[in-house]
């Protein structure tokens, strides 16, 4: 790939370097972007991270396997269930344990609800950055219902700790499936409302069409996953390509975009919310009976070995690389965060754009610093 040459529209003019500092209402966390500007045009935008580093991977090494699960909640704190799902999936594959089908279906429901919840945060904050203040409140009102469902299930709203190695800690409470069903049945009407505010709105289109374009070839080269990859037209979703849990038994589509700009990524995520509704409906209908926990020993000691396993989180491919030395604690547990890899494309996407578009690009990449910095 080589070094990218900075783009200079006017060769004689002076450059200005601004730090789009760690404290800023629009950087979605403590992200610092060092922007080199020529007038209003961006020559180079370099993200500087590390302001939220907490040594999570080191902490993993001193925990038991079940004890690492609460720590994963705090990485991508907007999508705790998929973080959990990745970790327990990794350890189960190391152990060679298959999760009972009821537990797998419950995991799918929780993960898809989490996808909707995470996309809700993305939509609210992205619209807010571009200036539309109201979608934030409408979307978060729906997220409240999702968080209530989580609270009924596992006792927490944000840092869920809702999965264990070998299955689920509890079964669904009384009436949960009914409430979940009622929620997802009315969600498409809400999504249509949010779309009425934004999708055809001329101002929204002017701010997002043609902004932050990345071609499919570039997206694959930079290692993007998730909506940034699918927005450029590449049909790649871990749930379809390397299915886990029981994703191969449910029907859903993978939405892709055509031109890889912000508007396409916006449409992709809106459609993903609708597909998640479809998945949850099917899972609720097909929910099998049975135990929710497989037969795993009380103290989990996987045999020596290493494994990489990834799930399709709302932000992209969230992977875990686990090395076990036969003891109760992992020898090394490395996380492949989706946002960390996606953030690298910030530079590519924002060259030649105006400064005001940088906000749109950061929003469309949907980054969460907790995952990037760990």
């Amino acid at each position: 790939m080589g070094n990218l040459e900075p783009v200079k529209p006017f060769p004689d003019s002076e450059e200005m370097e601004i730090s789009f500092g760690p404290q800023h209402p629009a950087t979605h966390g403590v992200l610092r972007v060092l922007v080199r500007l020529d007038g209003e045009r961006i020559i180079e935008a370099k993200p500087i991270i590390g302001y939220l580093h907490r040594g999570t991977e080191k902490i993993f090494e001193r925990e038991t396997y079940n004890g690492t699960i609460p720590h994963t909640d705090r990485m991508d704190y907007t999508a705790a269930a998929t973080n959990n799902q990745g970790l327990v999936g990794t350890v189960e594959r190391l152990l060679g344990v298959t999760v009972p089908p009821r537990a797998a279906y419950i995991r799918m429901i929780l993960a898809e609800l989490q996808r909707i919840a995470s996309h809700i945060i993305w939509l609210g904050t992205h619209a807010l950055d571009i200036g539309a203040q109201s979608p934030f409140f409408y979307t978060f009102q729906e997220r409240e219902t999702i968080l209530d469902l989580y609270e009924e299930y596992c006792g927490a709203r944000l840092t869920l700790n809702c999965m264990r190695v070998g299955g689920q800690p509890f079964d669904l409470p009384e009436g949960w499936t009914g409430r979940c069903r009622a929620f997802v049945d009315q969600l498409p009407a809400r999504i249509a409302e949010w779309e009425a505010l934004l999708t055809n709105n001329r101002i929204w289109k002017k701010r997002t069409i043609g902004v932050g374009v990345i071609s499919a070839a570039d997206a694959i080269e930079w290692g993007l996953t998730g909506p940034p990859l699918r927005g450029s037209g590449v049909k790649w979703d871990i749930r379809k390509v390397f299915p886990y849990d029981h994703y191969d038994e449910v029907e859903f589509e993978i939405p892709t975009g055509a031109s890889g700009d912000t508007y396409d990524r916006y449409l992709v995520r809106m459609e993903e919310m609708r597909q998640s509704v479809r998945i949850v409906t099917q899972c609720l209908e097909r929910l099998p009976d049975g135990p929710v926990m497989a037969k795993v020993p009380k103290v989990i000691k996987p045999p020596k070995g290493e494994i990489y396993f990834s799930v399709e989180g709302p932000k992209g491919e969230l992977g875990y690389y686990a090395v076990s030395d036969g003891s109760t604690n992992p020898y090394r547990l490395h996380v492949r965060p989706a946002c960390f890899v996606n953030l690298q494309a910030l530079d590519v996407m924002s060259r030649g754009l105006l400064v005001a578009d940088l906000i749109a690009v950061i929003g469309t990449l949907d980054i969460v610093l907790g995952e990037i910095d760990r």
């Binding site: 619209a127 807010l128 200036g131 203040q133 109201s134 934030f136 101002i203 701010r207 105006l354 005001a356």
Partner: protein, 350 residues
């Protein structure tokens, strides 16, 4: 009135005091209504703790701003820095001297003879308004420059460019009304609408929309509020202002909103006239006093301002300028041509 001291000194003084107090109070309470209406749009309640249902919130805000520490940046150009809020606020208030709020009234019999409820009616009314409100642009530029902060300067220049560019289509849309009315005087424009029997909104609908859009851009409101938006890199021209000076900027913004709404009411919606003023069947509506009609129409426009703020994303700056010069200006010129032809065919202005 026999006594010139009363007619030429006391009455205008009283009117000035009443108008100023009303406008300042209205601007302050407009901030309260904005917060409440935005909140209601966003399914929340807004201020409701200070006073019954939050009605004392603007008073609390004003008290806080009065008692806030007065900070002047050390490298700022002190005189200009202190003067800029004044330069931007005074024109916004002065404009109210020529806006007519109603017909001659005795205030329900309190006064011995009917007096007009506006300060004065000069025969170049609308020209005076356009000219004086343009002086406010100086406050923006000087404020941005005097803060000694390169981002404030950039924001100030951008804001000034926006204000100046949107004055042109605004002027042309006003000219369309002048063609229909035949006079620059605000009162005569309303009278022309009464004689025509229809508000100028109906023949001049394009002009109205252009005027209102330009008015939103003139007051730096959403969707044209890039220079003052918080989530943008370049901060607004009033970043370095705090306390009472900041309050002046916001007073000026809200007062400008009221100005634009009032002028739109007078020019396009018949001022203090009821709908279809010459239709006898609707004469029962005359029980509502004229200035209530005026206030209702202005209130409707202010509500639209807030409604637009809660709904639309904001334009990027180059798109904003493109809209003003490449879309609104040609459309307003074309509209002028069409209205001119129409007036010619009808046989002259009313």
């Amino acid at each position: 009135m026999a006594n010139p001291w009363i007619a030429y000194l006391l009455v205008p003084l009283v009117k000035i005091v009443v108008i100023l107090l009303t406008v300042i109070l209205l601007a302050a309470y407009l901030s309260y209504f904005e917060r409440k209406i935005l909140a209601y749009i966003q399914i929340r309640i807004g201020p409701n703790r200070v006073g019954p249902r939050g009605w004392l919130q603007p008073i609390a805000d004003a008290l806080k701003l009065f008692t806030k520490e007065d900070i002047v940046p050390s490298r700022a150009e002190k005189l200009v820095y202190l003067l800029s809020p004044v330069i931007i606020t005074v024109p916004a208030l002065v404009v109210f001297s020529v806006i007519p709020f109603g017909t001659d009234t005795t205030l329900f019999g309190l006064l011995p003879q009917a007096i007009p409820p506006y300060l004065t009616d000069i025969n170049i009314g609308i020209l005076f308004i356009l000219g004086v409100s343009s002086v406010g642009v100086y406050g923006v530029i000087l404020g941005g420059w005097a803060s000694n902060n390169k981002f404030s300067l950039m924001g100030g220049l951008r804001s000034a460019a926006q204000l100046v560019s949107y004055e042109v289509p605004m002027g042309f849309s006003v000219v369309a009304v002048l063609l229909m009315a035949g006079s620059l005087s605000m009162v005569k424009i309303v009278e022309a609408q009464r004689q025509a029997g229809v508000w100028f909104f109906f023949p001049g609908i394009v002009a109205f929309f252009i005027y209102f859009v330009c008015g939103i851009a003139e007051t730096n409101r959403s969707p044209f509020d890039l220079p003052e938006a918080e989530s943008e890199l370049v901060a607004g021209y009033f970043t370095e202002y705090s306390g009472m000076k900041w309050a002046f900027y916001f007073l000026a913004e809200y007062a400008n909103m009221v100005v634009v709404s009032s002028v739109a009411t007078v020019l396009f919606f018949g001022g203090w006239l009821r709908p279809f003023p010459n239709v006898a069947a609707l004469a029962f509506l005359d029980v509502i006093p004229p200035f209530v009609w005026f206030a209702a129409k202005v209130g409707f426009f202010l509500f639209c301002y807030i409604w637009f703020r809660g709904t639309f994303p904001r334009y990027r700056f180059d798109q904003l300028m493109g809209l003003g010069w490449k879309v609104l200006l040609p459309v307003s010129l074309a509209n002028l041509l069409v209205v001119g032809l129409g007036v010619l065919l009808i046989g002259g202005p009313r």
